[in-house]
């Protein structure tokens, strides 16, 4: 046991050396292998790269062309998707959309002209190989100097490692959607609620949820995981070394199958400098929530000669990842107290319309919210040039908790248009990207600043600002009881592709009609998240949409070919919350052949 720890420390040190002395070789060889994943408390067979899970950190350089030979040593087909990378679609690694996949024993050569920089990751897009361990990180060095300084850096990859295989998890969810929910309200909660709220109120509240056949505890579908940081469980304590006063860049990647994490480093303020690989104007926060598939780069400056905890509690508080930033080897930070009380969804997360709401077709759009969305359009006719719809919509709702929606229709719209936008900046007010009164709205453990999407402003706009040519509405839909997920009520296998025209700028309107958060990931092209900052809207590859909210993003359709567009929660994606996007027109796409 001791030996293993020493070995891990050595490997960790070796990794650090490799990070600080990178080689810019443009050719990489990756093998896809069955591996053993040992978290200290459980050993499972999983899938990894070059013999380990997580796979290596690939270090590219902006402007170079990288060649990656991927050899499949599995007994099943595989694939690698380069998450967030802008590349020819045949290199995107989605079987059935980009290419046929990589058969057992076959080697596929990816050729990627690297045209961006930042923190990204890669993972299998076949079956449940990614939940089973097939993921790794990517660092792309920029050509130009970065607008922030740091003395050392670490990749911090978060993962919800589950003892069950992905196939088994989905089968169990299909048999019983609450198979893994061990956070359900029980008799004890009932008695406590009766004491607190009285019998009548408690019964009526239970009856409301029972009528919908939904659970307020339904925040994490798949509990029972161990949170890993760079492949290491809390017991195994991944450690990043620093010298006091050094500025340490932490490249957080959430490579989880299903789990959002709330990340904090007690005693350190984190300066968020990058989101999804793109620089943002620095924001100082005490804690941030990282949706599945997102990345955030933060800079911390530990001043004291002591160990600091990297704490990543899951959004539903059913698990956590833990690691240490330490001035010396062999230190373990003191574990911060876990926030044991799990959040509960509220009727706000259900779209407020709780009486006549069906599972599949409950509509926030039909209630007062719909009116508000309509109103926002009127107030911001030029789309993203004025106040963002999402921010205004929810921001105004946020400032009026418990408001009567029916009264909103009568609101004076001209006042809304004249609203002082600067006042919308996030202070202590509720996060506009959560439904007003949502049970999911995060709070920092120390009562300080919790990052919101509304805080994200691009460091430098990637695209010229212009109005979108058209809007495409994507209602995020599903049926928890059947554990089937869809877009606009249609599962992937029954859906027509979304057709975009090369050169247009489309505006996606995501309306979350489910009670779960969905991280929507468009492959191949950027998603400009409308936070109401106009040309400073942040540019992302994964957009989280919380229950009961409407969020907008815009995409400059600048890559030909066909792409995947899906919820990045593994079991939502697998059951149908997925679309193929076809970009019509544009420059002819050269036929790229494997190996040439």
């Amino acid at each position: 046991m001791k030996k293993r720890i020493v070995l891990r420390a050595l490997l960790g040190a070796l990794g650090t050396v490799m990070l600080s002395a990178p080689s810019f070789a443009a050719t990489y060889d990756l093998t896809v292998d069955y591996v053993e994943i040992d978290t200290g408390t459980m050993k499972t067979r999983g899938i990894g790269y070059n013999g380990s899970s997580p796979g290596p950190t690939l270090r590219f350089k902006e402007g170079e062309e990288v060649v990656i030979n991927v050899t499949n040593n599995l007994e099943e087909a595989t694939s690698i998707h380069w998450h967030g990378l802008i590349l020819p679609y045949q290199m995107d690694g989605v079987p059935g959309i980009s290419f046929p996949g990589i058969e057992p024993g076959e080697t596929f050569t990816y050729r990627i002209p690297v045209s961006q920089s930042g923190t990204y990751w890669f993972h299998s897009h076949s079956g449940f190989q990614e939940p089973d361990g097939a993921y790794g990180s990517i660092i792309i060095e920029p050509q130009k100097r970065e607008p922030f300084k740091f003395d050392r850096e670490y990749v911090v990859v978060l993962k919800d490692k589950h003892p069950h295989s992905g196939e088994r998890i989905l089968r169990n969810l299909k048999m019983m959607p609450d198979y893994y929910n061990r956070n359900q309200r029980s008799l004890g909660d009932f008695i406590m609620d009766v004491r607190k709220n009285g019998l009548g109120a408690t019964l009526s509240e239970r009856a409301d949820w029972g009528a919908m056949r939904m659970m307020p505890t339904d925040i994490e579908d798949v509990q029972g995981f161990v949170g890993l940081i760079n492949g290491m469980s809390p017991d195994q304590n991944w450690t990043g070394l620093f010298h006091p006063e050094e500025r340490v860049r932490l490249r957080f990647i959430n490579a989880s199958a299903m789990t959002y994490f709330d990340v904090r480093i007690p005693g350190l303020e984190m300066t968020v400098v990058q989101a999804d690989g793109n620089n943002v104007q620095p924001v100082k926060v005490d804690e941030f929530r990282i949706a599945v598939a997102e990345t955030y780069d933060v800079i911390v400056q530990p001043k004291d000669d002591k160990a600091y905890a990297i704490m990543a509690e899951s959004m539903g508080r059913s698990g956590y990842g833990f690691g240490t930033l330490a001035p010396h080897e062999g230190m373990r930070a003191e574990m911060p107290e876990l926030r044991k009380e799990a959040p509960l969804l509220t009727m706000a997360d259900m779209g407020m319309n709780h009486r006549d709401m069906g599972h599949g077709d409950m509509g926030s759009g039909e209630t007062g919210k719909g009116d508000m969305a309509g109103m926002d359009h009127g107030a911001a006719p030029s789309g993203n040039s004025a106040m963002g719809n999402a921010a205004m919509d929810h921001g105004s709702a946020g400032s009026m908790p418990g408001m009567d929606h029916s009264g909103m229709a009568g609101m004076d719209h001209s006042n809304m248009a004249g609203m002082d936008h600067s006042a919308m900046a996030m202070g202590n007010r509720a996060d506009p990207f959560y439904a007003a009164g949502s049970g999911l709205t995060p709070k920092a453990a120390n009562g300080g600043k919790f990052l919101s999407y509304a805080d994200l402003k691009a460091q430098k706009p990637l695209y010229a600002d212009r109005p979108a040519t058209r809007e495409i509405e994507l209602r995020l839909t599903g049926n928890m009881e059947r554990y089937s997920w869809s877009i606009n009520g249609v599962k992937y296998e029954d859906a027509e592709p979304i057709r975009l025209k090369y050169g247009e700028r489309v505006r996606f309107k995501f309306v979350n009609e489910t009670m779960m958060s969905h991280p929507m990931h468009l492959h191949g092209m950027w998603s400009i998240l409308d936070t109401g900052q106009g040309k400073w809207n942040p540019v992302k590859h994964t957009i989280n949409i919380n229950p009961g909210t409407t969020v907008y993003s815009e995409t400059e359709v600048d890559e030909p070919g066909q792409w995947a567009f899906h919820c990045h929660l593994s079991y939502h994606m697998a059951t149908g919350m997925f679309r193929k996007v076809v970009v019509e027109g544009g420059p002819a796409v050269a036929t790229l052949k494997n190996g040439n």
Partner: protein, 241 residues
């Protein structure tokens, strides 16, 4: 002859299922399967009767179409006979957010008279988390009957679960050969306290079960010198794989 008949029907169902797309690329519908035994238990009656009872089902198929087997049985361990032994094979498809319709065949082969039935029914989740399985049957002799199964899982804790259940049987006409009279024929009320030992796969339980026959059905039992009601202490395993 009957065996042959069963094979034919089985073959037909298999053919229907063969057109269902298999597991594979994301663009195809996935197939799933599962097995569950709500009851698999030993019963000890108030007059020291010993019974082995099961109520299980298994499915295979897609979101749109499933093949489901439902089997129930009661073995009298004192007399070494099968008091009840029924197997159903149904095709099942969603008709609403929470309910599926199903149709198929049922074959009862207890010790004594066998019966074939055609069956249609619904199963799903009613408001307030009540699991419902409601079926209509028409037997080979032309007799109609109905069954309603209701179950609720009450969480004492997240692993200790109290499950009340009720099963009601009604017949629309008399079938003397299998000792069923017209009207509400029998009911079974159960209360089981289980503990999720291994995930949701294995949950041992203890409980009570009360069975009663009504009307003519009760009279038939009495005529045969059988009990028309019985109370059991039960102990068993709830299984899910």
């Amino acid at each position: 002859m009957k065996r042959h008949d069963l094979m034919m029907k089985g073959g037909f169902v298999a053919m229907v299922m063969a057109v269902v797309p298999g597991t594979g690329q994301a663009a195809e519908g996935r197939t799933y399967y599962g097995f569950q035994a709500e009851q698999f238990e030993y019963r000890l009656g108030d007059e020291n009767e010993k019974r082995l009872v099961w109520d299980a089902d298994a499915f295979w198929g897609t979101d749109e179409l499933k093949l489901r087997w439902q089997g129930e049985g009661e073995r009298d361990l004192d007399a070494d006979i099968n008091e009840g032994l029924e197997n159903r094979l149904v095709l099942q498809t969603p008709i609403s957010d929470f309910f599926d319709a199903k149709a198929g065949v049922r074959l009862d082969t207890p010790t004594g008279t066998d019966r074939w039935y055609g069956t249609v029914g619904i199963m799903g989740l009613a408001p307030q988390w009540i699991e419902v399985d409601a079926d209509l049957f028409v037997s080979e002799t032309g007799d109609g009957s109905a069954r309603l199964d209701l179950e609720y899982e009450g969480l004492i804790t997240n692993r200790v679960i109290l499950t009340p259940s009720i099963e009601l049987n009604a017949a629309f006409s008399e079938d003397r050969e299998i000792e069923v009279g017209t009207g509400i024929s029998s009911a079974e009320i159960g209360l089981r306290l289980s503990y999720d030992l291994i995930d949701r796969s294995v949950a041992p339980y203890i409980g009570v079960s009360y069975e009663r026959k009504f009307g003519d059905t009760a009279d038939f039992a009495k005529e045969d010198g059988e009990d028309f009601e019985a109370t059991y202490i039960v102990t068993g395993l709830r299984l899910m794989f």
